[in-house]
Symmetry: C2
Subunit: 418 residues, 2 copies
C-alpha cells in the first residue's frame, strides 16, 4: 500500500471511529482512561526496553543531552504518565454541556451544546509522554486522535501506543479512535495535512521549524504557537524585591521552554535601583545578558543587544534587557516584538496593571507573577495538547475545552419561515 | 503607490486603530453606531444616486435579475440598513465579559476575559447592505474592519462607506477602524490574504467559487461555509401535515439561500403516504423534482437523481428526493453528502430526535422546524458577518460573540514557579 493510501485509510478509520465515539457515555470513556493508566504501569519494563532502543540510536547519532533527557523514560516518568492520565479522568466531562439555551419569540428553543471536534491530529517531537497525555485528553473529550511522533522516539511511541490501544480492547471505545502514523519522514506529515475531509484540527508541538512547516502545508486548521518571546516589565511602582524573584524565576527556572522570559523591560524610573542587583542574580545563575545602551550604561560587562535580539526566542540562559520610558513604551515593545504568548507586569499600581492587561495583545498576561505558569497543569486543565497564540478557537493552554466545538440543536413545533 | 503597498498600509492602519479601539468604552462605540444609523437615513438620496450608477452598469452588462435585485437600494432597504445598525446597538456588549474566573491552589487568580479579535476582513459580493451590517457588528465588538465588496457594487459600497466613516468623525472611535479596499480585481484580495500579521480573521461571503479562492489563498484564518446542502428527513413517526408545511417552506420560501433545503429524505415507512401530496405541493410551487428509484416508483413524472445531485447546492427551485430505510441511513446520507450546515428531522419520537441530533455532524440541527431559520436575525444575534460550517471558533451564524477571542488575565502576589 502506498504511503498516501495508508495515511488516507488511517484518517478515514479515525473519522468513522469518531462518529461511534460520539455515543460512548462519559463513564465508559473514563473507564477506558483508567485502564490505559493501569496498562502504562503494567507495561513499565516493556516501555523501558523499547525506550532503550531509541536512546541507543540517539547516542549513536550524537544527539544533544537536552534532547536525550527529553527522550528518556524512567520509572518515575512512567509513573507520571499514568498519574497524568488518571488526573484527566477526574476532570469534568466537557461533552453535552449546555453553553446557553434560549427561546425565540416564534417558540423555537435553541440549545448550544458542546460536542467533540471529531478527529484531532497531533504532530510532535521527542517527548514520548505526549503520546499518552494527548491520547487521554482526546478520548476524554470524545475525539479520535491521530498521533504522529518524531522518528527519534519511534520505538518508545509505538510501545506506548500498543499498551494504550490494548487497554481499549475490553471497552466500548472503538480502538480505531486511537491511531498512530509511522514517523517515516516529512512526506507522511504532508499527506496527513491534505486530509481536511477526515481530520478536524492539527496541533503541532515542537520547534518553530516543524510548526512553520505544518502551518504552511496544511489544508486542515492548525492550532499553534510558533515561539514564546515572553516579557517581564518591571514598572515604576514595582515591589523591587518581588520583581527580582519573578525575573530570576521567569528566566532561569527552566530556560528551554516557551513560557520562559526572553526579554526584561525595566522602567527608567527604577532602572538604576533595580538593574544592578537583578542582573547580578541572573549572572550568578549563569545567564548571558544583552542590553540596550541605557542598561549598559548602568551595569558593566553586558553585551550589546541588536535589533534581532528583541524578537529572538533563546530557549537558553540568555536574556535581552531594555530600559523603557514608561508603560506605553513597554506595551508597544511587547506588541511589536513579542509572540503573543505570555507577558507580565510587576507593579503595585492597579491603574497601570489594568492599562497593561488591556494594552498587551497576548494570550496570557500576568500581574505580579512569573510567566512560567502558562501551562495546562498550572492552569488546572490537566495535561495540554498544546499552547495557542492564535486568536481563533482557543488561546493559551489547549486542553479539554479546546478540543470541543458546539452544535446548535433547535427544537420546534412545526415552525416555518414567513 | 503600488497595489500591494496600498493594501499593506490599509491593513497596518486598521491594526493600529484596533489597538486604540480596545480602550474606547462600549457607550461610545454604541453612540458611534447610532450616528452611523442616522447618517444612513440622512444620506438616502446620495446612496440611491450612487446605487443607480451600479444598476446602470449591471443593466449594460446584462446581469441576471436575481443579481440586480440583490444590488438594488430602495428607500425601504436603506431604512432596513439603518434599523439593522440600531438593532446591533441594542445587543449586549460582548467585550470584557468574564468567561470564567478561577483561583489556583497557589493563590493565582486567573480571569478569562472576552476581548475583540482585532482586525476582521470581510470579502463579499453584490449586496451593499453587507457593508453597513458588518461595519456595525465589527465596531460594536471592538474590532477594526476591512471591507472588500464586489466590483458590481463599487459605487454603492463606496457611498455607504463614506457615509459611515463621516459619522465617526465626532466620536472617539478612530475612523481608521473602518477601512474599505477598492474592488480592483482578485489581485487586491490576494494581497490582503497575505497580511496575517495585521488581519486576524477573514470572512468570505458569496458564491462557492469566491470562498474556495479565499480559503486556498489565505495565510489568515478563514471562517466560512462553502455551500449549504441542507436536508429535511421525514421520519417514520412524523406528523405528516407538519412535514408537508416544513418541506414546502424549506424549499420554496427563498430557494436562493444557503439554508434552503436541497434534498428531501423520506422514511420508507411513510413514503407512500407522504410523497404524493408533498411532491404535488412542490410541483405546484414550480419546483423541479429529481428522485431515486423508490421515489419515482411512487410518484410519476420525476426526473432521475444522479449521484451528483446528492451533493449539489441548487440554490434554485430544484429538489432531490430519496426514500431511506430508517434513521441511520438518513444520518449517514447527510454526513456523507451534506455540507454540515443545517439539517432537520420531522418526528414525534423523542428518542429518534435525540439520535438524529447526536448523529448529524452539522452546525445546526432541527427537530420539527424548517432549516430556513439558520441566520443571525432569526437566532436573535442581530445581523451576521457570515455562517460557519467550520468546527473551530464559531459554528452557525457568526455575529458578536464570533467576532471575539479571550485573554487570560492572571493576578498574583509574587508567585514564582518551583
Amino acid at each position: 500500500m502506498s504511503l498516501s493510501v495508508r495515511i488516507l485509510k488511517t484518517a478515514q478509520a479515525a473519522k468513522k471511529a469518531s462518529h461511534q465515539l460520539a455515543s460512548v457515555p462519559a463513564k465508559e470513556r473514563d473507564r477506558a482512561l483508567r485502564l490505559m493508566a493501569r496498562a502504562i504501569l503494567a507495561g513499565r519494563s516493556y516501555l523501558i526496553k523499547e525506550n532503550s532502543r531509541d536512546l541507543a540510536a540517539a547516542g549513536r547519532a550524537g544527539y544533544a543531552k537536552a534532547l536525550i533527557d527529553r527522550l528518556t523514560l524512567t520509572p518515575r516518568i512512567i509513573q507520571g504518565m499514568a498519574d497524568s492520565v488518571r488526573a484527566t479522568v477526574r476532570l469534568k466531562d466537557p461533552i453535552g454541556e449546555d453553553l446557553g439555551t434560549f427561546k425565540r419569540p416564534n417558540g423555537l428553543l435553541i440549545k448550544k451544546i458542546r460536542v467533540p471536534l471529531g478527529v484531532v491530529g497531533i504532530i510532535y517531537e521527542s517527548r514520548p509522554n505526549v503520546t499518552s497525555d494527548c491520547a487521554a485528553l482526546c478520548l476524554k473529550s470524545g475525539n479520535a486522535v491521530l498521533l504522529k511522533g518524531g522518528k527519534e522516539a519511534v520505538h518508545s511511541n509505538k510501545a506506548i501506543f500498543k499498551v494504550l490501544k490494548d487497554a481499549l480492547s475490553s471497552t466500548s471505545v472503538p480502538p480505531q479512535a486511537l491511531q498512530m502514523i509511522d514517523p517515516v519522514d516529512r512526506r507522511a506529515v504532508q499527506e496527513l495535512l491534505k486530509l481536511e475531509q477526515y481530520v478536524d484540527v492539527i496541533v503541532p508541538r515542537g520547534g518553530e521549524e516543524l510548526i512553520r512547516f505544518v502551518a504552511e502545508n496544511s489544508r486542515i486548521p492548525v492550532i499553534k504557537h510558533f515561539k514564546g518571546v515572553c516579557h517581564v516589565y518591571v514598572a515604576a511602582r514595582a515591589d523591587l524585591q518581588m520583581a527580582r524573584r519573578i525575573v530570576l524565576n521567569a528566566k532561569v527556572q527552566k530556560p528551554g521552554v516557551c513560557n520562559a522570559m526572553e526579554t526584561l523591560l525595566v522602567d527608567k524610573a527604577v532602572a538604576k535601583k533595580f538593574l544592578p542587583a537583578a542582573l547580578a542574580d541572573l549572572k550568578k545563575a549563569g545567564c548571558e545578558l544583552r542590553g540596550d545602551a541605557a542598561t549598559r550604561a548602568m551595569v558593566r560587562g553586558i553585551k550589546t543587544a541588536t535589533q534581532k535580539d528583541w524578537s529572538t526566542e533563546y530557549l537558553d540562559l540568555i536574556l535581552s534587557v531594555k530600559v523603557v520610558d514608561g508603560l506605553q513604551e513597554a506595551v508597544d515593545h511587547i506588541n511589536t516584538y513579542g509572540s503573543r504568548h505570555s507577558d507580565a507586569i510587576v507593579t503595585s499600581d492597579k491603574a497601570q496593571a489594568k492599562q497593561f492587561l488591556e494594552g498587551v495583545d497576548s494570550a496570557c498576561v500576568y500581574v505580579n507573577a512569573s510567566t512560567r505558569f502558562t501551562d495546562g497543569y498550572e492552569f488546572g486543565f490537566g495535561a495540554e495538547v498544546g499552547i495557542s497564540t492564535d486568536k481563533l478557537h482557543v488561546r493559551g493552554p489547549m486542553a479539554l475545552e479546546g478540543l470541543t466545538s458546539y452544535q446548535y440543536q433547535i427544537y420546534g413545533q412545526g415552525q416555518i419561515r414567513t
